[in-house]
Structures are given as C-alpha cells and as structure tokens.
Symmetry: C2
Subunit: 288 residues, 2 copies
C-alpha cells in the first residue's frame, strides 16, 4: 500500500473512534460536546495518532490496542490549538480555513472545550485501562500514558508554549527557539511514538530509538513549517527559525534532521521501518 | 484531636507535598511554575485533598498512599479557579483578597498555568503509579485516578461550568441549577472521597456509601455558600439557589442535605466516621 492510501485508511479509523468517544449520553452541558466536536473535525491530518498506531504496529502490537492512546493524543493536540487561538494567545480568527472555536462558540466555551478535551484524553485512556483484565501489560498501559502526560505537560508541549508567549524579538535566542521547537512540536511526536511502542511491548532500546526518531522528525517538521510559512510569518511578525538563519541554512537543517531520523530507524534492524521512512520523506518534502 | 487541629495538620502536609511537586528542574519555561505556585498558595482551605486523605484513613489505608491523588485534586480545583476567573468567564480581579492569576501573570499565562495544573495532576499520579511495584493494588491505583478524571471532566466539574456560563435568568431552571451544583461542587468532593476509599481498599458497598455522602455534603456546602454570599450575589447578578427559593427554604435544604449526609455515614458501622461527621457540621454551620 502506498503511504497516501495508508494515511487515508488510518485517518478514517481515527475519525471513527473520535466520533465514538463523543457519542455518549449528554445532559444540560451538551453544547460543550458540539464545541469539542467542531474542533476535532476540522480536517486535521491526524499525524500524531497515526504515528502512535503505526509505532504500535511496527513493534508487533495490534494497533487496536493503542487506539485509546491515539485518540487521547489527538484530543491533546486539538485542545492546544483551541487555547492557542484565543485572543490573549495568538488571537486567530480562522484555522484551516474555518472560524476558530471561540469565534463560533465564544471565548468562555472555547476555554472549557479545551479543558474538556485535555481531561477527556486522560479519562478515555484510564477508562480503557480500568476495563482490562489484570495481566503483565497493565504496567505498560500505565507507562504509555505517563509518557504522554510528560510530553504534553509543563516540561513538554505546554512548556514550549510558555516560551512562545513570553519571548519577543528582544529576548528570544537561538537556544530558546530550539527549546520551544523541542517542546511545542517534537514532544508530542515523541509521546505518540513512544506510547505506541510501549503498548506494543517494545524493549527499552527500541523505545529509546523511536524516541530519538521522534525528536529528529519533529524538528525537521517544524523547520519545514517555518520555510513554508516564511512570507506569512514575516507579515504577522512571528518569530521562527528564519529570524536566526537564512533559507539555505534552514533547508540544510531540515535535510540534516530528516537524514538523521532515517539513519536512526536503521538501528531497528528487525523491524519494518518503511512506513516511517516514507512518512519522514513525505513530511519534510511537503509543500503545504 | 479536635477537628480544627486535624484540619491544620493535614493542610500542612498538603502544602508541603504541593511544594515538592513544583520543586523540579526548570528551564526557559520557569515562569509558568511561578504562576501555578501563586494560585496553589493563596490560602485555600485544602478541603478536597483533606477529604481524600481522611477517606483513605477511615477505610484503614495509610493516608500517605493517597497523597499523589490528594494533590492532584487540589491542582484540578486550582486550575478550575484560574480559568474561571478569566475575563471571558467570571472576569474576577481578586480571589481570597489577592489579585487573580491573570491580573498578575497575564491572561495568556493564566490559560497555560490552568492547562499546566490540569496536566500536572494526571502526570503526578501516573508517575507515582508507574514507580510502584506491580501488585494487587495496581488496579486500585488506576481506578482511583479514573474516578477523579470522570468527576473533573465534561460529565463532572467542567459540565457544571458549562451550565454556569451558558444559562442566564431567562434559561436557568431549578433542574439545571441542581445539575450545575451536582457537577460544579459535589462532583469533586465525590472524586476526592471515592478515590481515597479505593486507594485504601474499601469494598464496593463502602465506596458507594462514601460517594453518596460526598454528594449530600457537596450540595449542603454549595447552598450554604449561596446563603453566605446572598447579598454579594445579588449585587453582581449571580444566579443561585436563592433565585428559586427563599432563605428559609435554603436553610432547610442545607439542614436536610447535611442530616442525610450524617445518616449515610452511619451505614459505615465498622468505621470511625467521627471526622466526617464533625466536618459536615463544621462546613454547613460555617459563617465564612
């Protein structure tokens, strides 16, 4: 199967599972479900949950075992976008060509919908683990969720957003920018990949290899983003890699990170790494 | 020990544990720790974490086992206050006599600090569970956190806040108001009590008894709040129990809920329920 077909297949699986999670009895608070649903279904690429499921599969797990984690990660990603778009943050009116959550549901509901999605991410996985039979994989189930919680928290994704809001042209440095990219972008890639690997029963070496891969892929992805959004970012005065390096250097870094990412995958000599190699090439050479 | 001394003792334990949780290596995102710290230490009564620890103790658990849950619950309570105070929500400038989080750290940081605390709540407990030896209490550890996640989520605390923001004088009904109180106030009391009981190894009947107790106590507590804040609430146009019932009826309901709460405790005939009986009397007769 070529990578586009595979991505489409997995996207469908994830969409269906997300729908199921929201399909519960509701009461007077039903509007928050509409608000969460709106942002969960705005044509996202489902990149992080797909990485999670494919990582699980690569390490010989049934990808179905990792579905609660995959949708939790997509919920976390989505909540961060809702909060990021709020007026005190980036103040964005549109995302992927549609009005942002707070433009449709109001700022108060957007705050709660974000909170709700973050909470629901944990709730979903905890409910799934609680229903399992007690067995050896119980500990793995916890460890996978713990990894996600660390990558999404104040020393992960949220930590990156802190640097994003607090530093400006005067105070931003190369070091801080790299820290921000590690946390804002690479962290959730790593959380997705590592948790899928843990659920599958990958060994410690394999887990560290996929963690490193996630880091390199995340950094390549983010700098590619900067290159693609170069003109738009200048227009809105956004600080990116291109405030510190020129376009040639940025292209070079994308090449370097993605080459490293693929070399890291070669260490997994007993595993079929073709999907992640293709994904890396696909993502770093993308034009949108 | 009288109840005031006991509350003071436990408050100290909780403050110390909360401090420890924030005492980690920080990097460029260190400001968010200041923001979280500011709101965690504004003279809160630590009611919910104390309920958690005392519930664990009442059911013959070592209360130390429940400490990660206790501080997680306080973090969840605190994040909800930070977000609740934001301008698009209640737009409060002060809380407990001090400037609200966003007044000190800005709205953007207050949003992230709230997100950070919610995430850290789960992170803290998951890290604790992950470090445990695998044994029979592993499942209980998960179940306790699952209960908290459900009580704090869109069908719990957040659900109550949704009704709070969306309903006004025209649309609020008695039913919705009771739903809101169940979710906004009673839910987190229940989460605290039930999780402590589960960690301690309480049996299913006991868990349901303490769950019912939490409900009654939460409702009594909230209506007492309405009575205490009566004049202030009128001034700011806040919708409360007293928009539907007069003061006598409200006093009667507080009496009824607290009497029920104490009667429920009597079902736990093998347990020392004195602390919770005293706490109930203390909370419903309070004047601040």
């Amino acid at each position: 199967m070529n990578i586009q077909d595979e991505l489409d297949n997995f996207r469908e699986i994830i969409d269906l599972e997300l729908k199921k999670t929201l399909d519960v009895d509701k009461s007077y608070q039903k509007n928050i479900y509409e608000s969460m649903d709106y942002s969960l279904f705005t044509g996202g690429k489902r990149l992080r949950p797909i990485m999670n499921l494919k990582s699980c599969q690569m390490f010989s797990g049934e990808f179905e075992q990792s579905i609660p984690y995959a949708i939790a990660i997509e919920m976390i990603h989505t909540y961060s976008l809702i909060h990021d778009d709020l007026p005190p943050m980036d103040d964005d009116d549109t995302r992927r060509g549609r009005p942002t959550n707070h433009k449709v549901f109001g700022e108060d509901m957007a705050i709660l919908a974000g909170d709700g999605l973050l909470n629901l991410a944990f709730e979903t996985v905890l409910r799934y683990i609680d229903k399992r039979e007690e067995n050896i994989s119980f500990r793995k189930a916890i460890r996978a969720l713990k990894e996600i919680s660390e990558y999404s928290g104040v020393n992960g994704m949220i930590g990156g957003q802190v640097v994003d809001i607090q530093d400006d042209r005067e105070t931003m440095t190369k070091d801080k920018l790299i820290f921000m990219y590690e946390k804002k972008t690479a962290a959730l890639f790593q959380g997705a990949l590592v948790s899928g690997a843990i659920v599958a029963g990958a060994n410690d070496d394999e887990i560290e290899i996929i963690r490193d891969f996630g880091y390199k892929l995340g950094m390549a992805y983010q700098i590619r983003d900067d290159i693609l959004d170069f003109e738009e970012d200048i227009a809105i005065g956004k600080l990116t890699y291109l405030n510190f390096y020129d376009l040639d250097k940025a292209e070079e870094k994308v090449e370097e990170y993605s080459r490293d990412a693929i070399l890291i995958l070669d260490k997994l000599d007993n595993r079929d790494t073709n999907f992640f190699k293709s994904l890396t090439k696909e993502l770093v050479s993308r034009t949108i």
